[in-house]
Each structure stands twice: as C-alpha cells, then as structure tokens.
C-alpha cells in the first residue's frame, strides 16, 4: 500500500446510547423523554433519549435544568455494567471486519477498512452490514459515517443521525466542510469556537480563508490542525493501540525561566487549562506528568500517579508543583513547561468507587 492510497474510514456512533439501552430494556420508557443520570439536586444528565432532546435536554446538562425544559422527563439511574456489555458486543462485530478499531468511548469507534479482505466490497456496504448486525445483536441503532479520513467520517456519522449512514467521497470533503459552523468540528470545543467567532471565523469556509501562520499564532499547535481540517485533510491514522486519552497543556516562554517562583508562575496557567478541560468534559485522571524543555532543547519529563483518580484541584496542583520542585535547582534556563493528566476516566463511571487518600 502506498501512501497515496485513499483510505476507507468508518465512524460508528450508537444513537443516544445509554438512553436507548434503557428504552430497550424497559418498554415503559419507549417513546418517552428519558434522561439517564441522577434526578437529585446536583445530578447531571449523562444521556438523553431523542424524545428528550426535542425539548432541549442535552447530556452534561444539570438535571434541574433538564427538568425545567421537559417537566415530564423520566430519570433513570445509569447501569454502566450493562452499557459496557453492549459495548463489548458491538466491539466483537467491528473486529470481524478489521483489526484497526479505535474506540473513542463505550459507544463510538473508528474503523479503518482500507484493507478489507474482499476488495470488491465497498466501505459503504461494510457500514451497512455493521449497522444491521448491531441492530440484530443488540436491538439498538447506530449511525455510520464513511469517508477517507477520521475527521470527515465523524462529521458524516453525525449528519443523518439517528440510524443514519452517510458517505463523503474523495473530492467532496472540502465542499462538505465549507458551510458547517466551526463548533460542529470535532476538536473545536465551545471555548475555541467562541474565540474563532470573535475573530470573524464562523464557518468552514471562513476557517479556510485563514493562513496557517494566523491560526498558529492564535491557537498554537492546534492551529495547524484547524488549517488542515478546513481543507478536509486529516492524516491521523486509526490507532487501535490508543488507550485513554491524556489531557495536556504546554507553553513556550518568551524568556527562559530560572527561579522556582518563575517556574511555578509559568506552570500555573497550564494547570488551570488542563483542569478546566477535564472538568468541562467530566473526566478525571490519575497520572500527572510535568515536562520541561531547557534552553538547549534538552527535554525531561517527571510523572507521578495517585492511587485513585484525582478529583480535587488542590491535590492536582500539589502533585504538579511537587514534580516541578523535584527538578530544582534547574541547571539551565527553561524555555518550555508542560503538564499532562493521563489515565483518564469519565466521571460518570466512578459511581460507587472508593476514593483513596492522597499519598
């Protein structure tokens, strides 16, 4: 296979996964607005059925708000063991088609079917088969997106939800991306989208008009990725090895840093960044890594794992500053600092988890 071969990527995304499982298992819930999550004062919606979504109920919404938008909303406590079981079922279906499966969560995955054993079967037909098998084995519907890279495949699966199948063929990518608002792009979150809007970038077309230099100046390394996706280019491979993501932030300083106070000052906004990212996505990590690049580009990292997921910021800060402190006194100027939180887990899956002391 040469590098110019057009890849065939499928993105499969279960429709309103947790809520659909609940409706499947309890006929009384079918056709009704259902929210999986806690109904109590501080509860949060983990997933909403399509009936609930028509009322504006969304996942990660406070249960109180959801109830206001949809007063007859039915709250169901989550059963993660069941969801994991269904997830394993669909995973077995994916494995029949390719070894290149990259799960993103319990209910979505990328598949690279470029080298499918029967070259005469199109990726679209494979996606159809997978959808049918999921329906037969689990009674649930999934949406599939087919395209030549991950970015487009994900956009495509979202395009005809629920129970959809959409294909973006080579040559159609740029045109497809053009009219979409930047907030719909995978990898552009709410904060980034707002920042883009302020810069006058609202759609894919607006984004494509920007130079790479401009995007990198405003968005750092991610600017390069935005430049690519505006052109519907995404070379990221489907990575079956990918475990859970990590969340990191780093910064190259205008002047090299030397003193402990300067270093701490430099690390603080990065810690805030990472913490906000995780909090907003309702995930938490267990391992903290601090990265230091010196003026001569020598790079070192130090990491430490807590016994259980880190749930409060002061503990995260203590670990990060502690790692930084272990590097004092620095032998030479520091040009870059970075901090990463890894071994991430969704907070919703932590229920019933015994927390551990901070040492």
């Amino acid at each position: 296979m040469t590098t110019n071969t057009v890849r065939k990527i499928i993105h499969i995304d279960m429709d309103a996964f947790y809520a659909s499982v609940e409706q499947r298992d309890n006929p009384a819930l079918r056709g009704k607005p259902v929210a999986v999550g806690g109904s109590r004062a501080r509860g949060v919606v983990a997933a909403a059925s399509y009936e609930a979504r028509t009322f504006g109920v969304r996942s990660a919404m406070a249960s109180v708000t959801a109830k206001k938008r949809c007063p007859h909303l039915i709250f169901v406590p989550p059963r993660f063991e069941v969801y994991k079981g269904v997830s394993a079922q669909i995973r077995r279906i994916f494995d029949e088609y390719t070894a290149l499966v990259e799960p993103l969560s319990l209910d979505e995955a990328y598949l690279d079917v470029t080298d499918y054993r029967d070259g005469n079967v199109s990726a679209t037909e494979i996606a159809k088969e997978i959808k049918a098998k999921i329906k037969a084995d689990t009674g649930l519907t999934a949406s599939a997106g087919v395209s030549y890279n991950k970015f487009l495949a994900k956009l495509a699966s979202d395009y005809r939800k629920p129970d959809g199948l959409y294909v973006i063929k080579p040559g159609q990518g740029e045109a497809f991306v053009e009219p979409l608002s930047v907030g719909q792009f995978h990898g552009i979150g709410r904060v980034t989208a707002e920042k883009m809007n302020q810069l006058g970038i609202h759609t894919g077309a607006d984004l494509r008009r920007q130079s790479e230099v401009f995007l990198r100046r405003h968005f750092g390394k991610s600017g390069g990725y935005y430049y690519q996706i505006a052109r519907a280019v995404d070379d990221r491979p489907v990575n079956p090895e990918r475990i859970r993501k990590s969340s990191g932030s780093e910064n190259t300083f205008e002047h090299d840093l030397f003193t402990p106070a300067e270093l701490e000052e430099g690390l603080r906004p990065l810690i805030d960044d990472v913490w906000d990212y995780c909090t907003n996505r309702r995930i938490a990590g267990r391992t903290v890594t601090v990265k230091v690049k010196f003026e001569d580009f020598q790079q070192i990292t130090r990491s430490k794992s807590a016994l259980s997921v880190i749930l409060d910021k002061p503990f995260f800060e203590r670990l990060a500053y502690g790692l930084l402190e272990s590097l004092h006194p620095v032998p030479k100027g520091v040009r870059l600092l970075g901090v990463t939180l890894s071994n991430l887990e969704p907070l919703d899956e932590l229920e019933g988890r015994q927390l551990t002391l901070d040492f």
């Binding site: 501080r42 509860g43 907070l347 019933g352 927390l355 002391l357």
Partner: protein, 377 residues
C-alpha cells in the same frame, strides 16, 4: 536429658507464642519450638522460642531438670498432644544424639522426632537505642485502635504496619490502608528522644493476643528491630524498612461541616441500612440538612433500598456524601466515646471521626475516604 513440667502450664505458655509458627515456613525447622533447658539449684528453667524469621517470641517456664541442653520439637504435634492430655506433670526424655523425644505421662508414652537445635535461627539481638515502659493496657488499646486499619497490600509495604512516633510528650500510632487512616495518640507514653518506626501488623497482632492485663511492658527499639518484654515473655520483630506516607498532610484541616451524634445510635442504624447496600461497593449515602441525618442505601441490581432519619447536631451547609458502610461501621465499633463528631468538607474529601468528648490520656482521629455518589462531580 530429661525434665518434668506441668502439662497445663506448658500448654498455656506455648499457646501464647504459637501464633508465630507459620504453617508452611520457608525454613522447615521453623515448624518447631526451640526448647532450651537450664538446670539450676531450684530445679530449672525451660526457654521456648518460636520464630518466623520476621517475628520471634520466647517464653520461660519453671521445670524440674537435672541437666542443661536443647532440642527442637515439632510445634503442632506437641500442642495437639498437650491439648488432649488431662492436667498432670509430664516427663520429657530426650536423646541428644538422635533428637528423639519421648513424653511420658500417666496415660502412656508418645515419641516425637525432634531436630537439631543448632539449626534453629539465632534470635536477633536488639541493640537498643531507646527503651520505654508502657502499661500493657495502654499498649493493648493502641494496638486495638489501629491494627485493623493496616493494609494487606504487599505492594505498599509501609502501610502493612503501624507507624509509631515517639516523642518527649506523647506517642502517636498511625495506621492506614489508603482508604482510611487512624491516628491514635497517648500522652502517658513518653520517651527521652524522638524516634519513629513501622511495626509489622503480624507482630502487633501476636502482641495483642498475648498481652496480659495490668502489667508493665518494656519496649526496646533499635534501628532494625523492636522488642517487647512482659513477665516471662518476649517478642522481637524486624521493623518495616520503608518510609511511611506523609499522613499529616493527608488529614484535611478545613472541615466546616460537622455532624455530632450518639455513636451507638448511628451504628445500629447503619447496621440496618447496610443490609440494603450494594454487596460490592457497600455504598451508603449520608444526607445532612438542618438537624437531621438521613442514611440511605440502594442496590439497583435487586431493587432493594432503605432509609432512616436520625436527629443529630449538624453545623454547616446541607450536603450528601457516600461512604463504604463496612468501613464506617468498623470505625464506629472501634470508637468508645458516647458521642462522636464527623467533620467533613465536600463529598469527594475525607470524613474525619473524632470523639465529641476527649479522653484524658488518649486522642483518637479516624479518617475515611468517601465513595463517589452519582450526583457528584
């Protein structure tokens, strides 16, 4: 070589130290008791040693003997024999060439294959840096209050023992398994110098079961060993050579939400509620609002649920927090105060249990980490 001893006295003394003998020791000789007989003008003394290499216990028993000598005798065989014999003086007849041992009793004679006493490991000497006298009651209470919270996880060896910090004005015993932590302080144990060490769980459990009431225990500590002597008995153990976690920093100091309640009221309610908790997580929920504490549990798999409301004294913002009911019940059972307080800050931070009224000589703090509730975070 020959000696005569009361069967019941021997049994009682061997039972005290028998806990040390491992069932499948690395060195087979450790399945034996080491008997050492010193004859003197008044008759003689039998010194018995049991060891698992980490912990060694010895005890002394008066016997009638005309010769001195030593022998290693299979511990289980001997104890089983003594347990089934009626009380009487019994005679040990030992062939020092073959180590064959005969026990002569009114009921009959029993022959055991002994072993060469030379093979029995030497008892480590404690080159004492520090010695302190502790009343057996204070020591027993310190062990009882802490040892249950030690970890059994061999991957974190520091936590498999109790951390002992000695200073001029108090002794602090700390145990933790990562989910809970007990800090127990006594002001009636004082030393001339500051020192700290980690004493293995097994040694403390053995000590606990053999400590008599109302006696002075002489504790001696070196860099690598600790020794506890009381009456005719001595326990020597190797210390855990690890750094104990920085426990003081793990105890949160700002805990604005304080629940004060009768200990037995809470415990009896908890025992009823926990029947309905999930069998793997043992999760129960404490809801605090005004002067009411609601305890509830649910097991979604079986659709079981229970809740009870208790009157209490609560200062702070209304809150909900989850705990493992088993841990909480164990802590409450180990507290003795009539009224206890639980200090808390947030549903993902430790709860700290202390007696509402302080005892004169002791100060106890029990910390427990919560279990995540679905409504939080």
């Amino acid at each position: 070589m020959k000696f005569i001893v009361s069967s019941s006295v021997l049994l009682k003394n061997l039972s005290h130290i028998n806990g040390v003998v491992a069932t499948n020791p690395i060195v087979p000789i450790l399945e034996n008791f080491l008997f050492k007989i010193d004859s003197n003008d008044e008759g003689g003394v039998l010194t018995v040693t049991a060891s698992d290499l980490q912990t060694t216990m010895t005890t002394q028993i008066p016997v009638e003997a005309t010769e001195s000598g030593a022998i290693a005798i299979p511990a289980k065989l001997l104890l089983d024999t003594l347990r089934s014999l009626p009380e009487q003086p019994i005679t040990f007849n030992i062939d020092t060439e073959t180590f064959g041992t005969q026990i002569l009793t009114d009921n009959g004679r029993y022959k055991l294959a002994g072993e060469n006493p030379i093979d029995f490991p030497k008892i480590p000497a404690v080159n004492k840096n520090l010695s302190v006298e502790i009343s057996s009651d204070a020591l027993a209470s310190a062990i009882n209050n802490t040892v249950f919270a030690t970890s059994t996880d061999d991957l974190r060896p520091a936590m498999t023992g109790v951390y002992l910090q000695l200073s001029e004005d108090q002794a602090t015993f700390v145990a933790t398994d990562g989910h809970r932590l007990i800090r127990y302080r006594r002001t009636d144990i004082q030393t001339s110098a500051n020192t700290s060490m980690i004493i293995p769980r097994k040694a403390l459990q053995l000590l606990k079961s053999s400590l008599p009431d109302n006696l002075t225990v002489r504790a001696e500590f070196s860099q690598s060993n600790a020794s506890f002597s009381f009456g005719p008995t001595q326990l020597i153990c190797r210390l855990i050579d690890e750094r104990f976690p920085d426990y003081e920093n793990a105890i949160p100091t700002k805990n604005p939400n304080v629940l004060t309640i009768g200990r037995t009221d809470l415990l009896t309610t908890l025992k009823r509620i926990m029947i309905y908790a999930n069998r793997t997580t043992h999760q129960i929920r404490l809801s605090l609002k005004g002067n009411a504490l609601t305890l509830s549990a649910e097991d979604l798999d079986y659709a079981n649920e229970a809740n009870e409301k208790l009157l209490c004294d609560f200062e702070g913002e209304p809150m909900e927090i989850g705990f493992n009911a088993k841990l909480l019940a164990e802590m409450l059972s180990n507290m003795h105060a009539k009224m206890i307080s639980i200090q808390m800050s947030a549903p993902n931070r430790a709860g700290i249990m202390v007696p509402a009224d302080k005892d004169e000589n002791e100060d106890i703090l029990m910390l427990v980490m919560p279990v995540m509730l679905n409504t939080y975070a």
